[in-house]
Every structure is written in structure tokens, then in C-alpha cells.
Subunit: 137 residues, 3 copies
């Protein structure tokens, strides 16, 4: 049984950005030597997330417009009383998801044709981290 741990770092230029990380995760799986198992890919911050969806700029735009309507920035959130203006980012990340668990089969991410892993940043412009934990053999 092999258990392997790694971390990815991000510092986005924009407050909100979706970054494709499929290749980075595939490379870590390869390094781990695990042929059969699972990989957990998880944000380590509560205003960013990890999700699987489509690598298409129009759809990424649609998601961001939809999220802004669903949980707008700048409303009079109670969280603001702590001095934080990122309540919307906490909510957006919750909708998109904190983590994904992806199967590893025959040494590769066992993905359908269009599945891509994304880091979803909702309150960026500072260093943030994603955890990668692999379990298998």
C-alpha cells in the first residue's frame, strides 16, 4: 500500500479565477507510482475550491456570471463585521465544491473524455494551497 502526499501553490492575479490543474495532478499520480487507487485533490482554504467540469472559456464565464448572481460580492453580509469582505467567496466555493476524489486505474486518472480538474479561486491575489493525497498500490 502506497500513500503519497503533495501540495500545489497558487497566487492568482484576479480575485476570481478558474485554473486547470489536470496535468499537474496526473504528474503527481505518475510520480507516486500508484497504479490502482484514488487521489484526493482538495483546497486548503475556505474561499477556494476544487472541481471537475469543462475546459471551455465560454462555460467558465457562464459559471462565474451565474455564481455572481447567486452570491453577489458586496452585499451587507454579517461576516463583514469581522472586517472580512469575502463572504461571497465562502459561499461560491461551497457551491462549486471543496474537493474531488478521482479514481486511478492502470496508472492514470480514470476520466471520461471531457473531465478536467480545476482550482477555483474566489478570493485570490495571495498565496494559497491545494493538497493532493494518493492512496493505492
Amino acid at each position: 500500500m502506497t500513500i503519497y502526499t503533495d501540495y500545489l501553490w497558487f497566487q492568482t492575479r484576479e480575485r476570481q479565477e478558474f485554473i486547470r490543474i489536470t496535468d499537474e495532478i496526473a504528474a503527481i499520480v505518475k510520480t507516486s507510482g500508484v497504479k490502482e487507487g484514488m487521489v484526493l485533490v482538495s483546497a486548503m482554504h475556505i474561499t477556494s475550491g476544487v472541481f471537475v467540469n469543462d475546459w471551455e472559456d465560454g462555460l467558465i464565464h457562464d459559471f462565474q456570471v451565474w455564481l455572481e448572481k447567486l452570491a453577489p460580492q458586496g452585499l451587507d453580509y454579517a461576516h463583514r463585521q469581522t472586517g472580512e469582505d469575502n463572504a461571497d467567496a465562502h459561499i461560491k466555493r461551497q457551491v462549486m465544491g471543496r474537493e474531488v476524489v478521482v479514481a486511478i486505474t492502470a496508472g492514470k486518472l480514470d476520466f471520461g473524455t471531457w473531465e478536467q480538474i480545476f482550482y477555483g479561486e474566489f478570493d485570490g491575489r495571495r498565496k494559497k494551497r491545494v493538497l493532493v493525497k494518493i492512496i493505492g498500490e
Copy 2:
């Protein structure tokens, strides 16, 4: 340590359908011989998902009405510029979830009384696949 992989195929008649798959997953767990561990059940497409909720027709209807209001089909999504009219399906699946991880205890899905696993289709009428990955002993 046992790692076991299987796939389920779906082709729905309707664009949107929720299909109960608890029995299929339980059967795969039995076949795997795993008594203690976890099973990952994951959509392999980005316009369908897997989730756990209630097997009750009224509630399934409520979810579908609610999702249609939340992310209506036919809006002027940017994704449409690629020729795709399924941006709403990408969003609906994200809200409902891509995957579930279910515990296996004493050879069975370790579920509460009302937990049922569903395949959630949001852009059907074509062949689609779900991955089942079991890890344990």
C-alpha cells in the same frame, strides 16, 4: 488490500432524469469481496452527476423544478458559441455533485435508513458512464 473497478452505462430517454443506482452499487460491492473500505461512485461526464438523497417522486420533481429555476435551459449562455446548448446541464450537475464516497462496513454500504444513490442526468439521450472504484479489504 483489494482495489476493484467497474462501470455502469446509462442512456436516458429524457434530457433530465434521476435514476436510483443503490442496488447496482451494492451488487458491485458484493462482487468485489471487500468487507471494510470505501466505494467511490462518480460520473464520467460533465453534464451528469452522482448524489445521495431521497427516493421519493415528489422530491425528485421538486429538485428538478428548483434546478430549472436556478440554472434555466435556453438562456444566452456564452457556452452556446461553441455550438453547445447544455451550459445549464453543466451548472445543474455542479450543484448536485459529481461523485459520492460511501463507506463499506461488514460487507455492505454503510447507509442510514433513507440514503439512496442516484445517477443524475442533465443532458441525456446518449450513452454515458459512471465509474465505481472500491478500496478496502
Copy 3:
């Protein structure tokens, strides 16, 4: 390989409550003796969930206000025809999430600074259960 199972019980006073359970999960991880692996923390009911977000009362209030707007209690849901008045709770739990999978590294929950695990109750005032399943070595 170690696989360890435990359960937590909850009975909230309010219909909707968010309860921090990070310390309880950390204690179970310690008891399991697992140094490297993963822990699945999952609701066993379909009107409650488990999620990771911020331990800040204002933000918890913001989430609850936002969820009430997103899926209000007391609408004319079809689920009501079964005698159940908790369709909103099923939807709210789906948005917030059923389960989290957290990495265990060097014997501890491998968390960022602000990550906290919550039990999210959306139809409480009765006994409900959370499953904790640990896999690792």
C-alpha cells in the same frame, strides 16, 4: 492497512444548526492510530450534511440566510404530498454537501489554517448520525 469506523450522534434544539465537529473527528483519527490516509465524514441522513468552511458566527448566519432564500421552507413542494414538510432541508443539504474526505498526514487532519468541519442540520430536533470511516496505515 487499518480501517476504522465510528459514529457521532446529534440532536439539535433548532431545526437548522451548524455544529463544529473538527475536534471530535481529530480525536477519532488519533484513536484509530492511522498516521497516513484519509477520513470520510458523512451524514447518514438526507436532510443533514457535512462540510468544511469557516468557524465564524457572522458567516454561519450568512449561509443560513442565503440558503433560506435559495430553498425557502414552506413552499408548495410536491414532497409535501407524502406528509413531509422538509423538502427545503433536502435541497439545502444537497447544496452544502453530504460528506467530506479529509487527508491524514503525520497522524493529523491535513488542514489549512481556517478549515473546520461542520455538521449541517436542516431538519433537526431528533436523533441523527454521522459516519466516520478512516483508511490508511
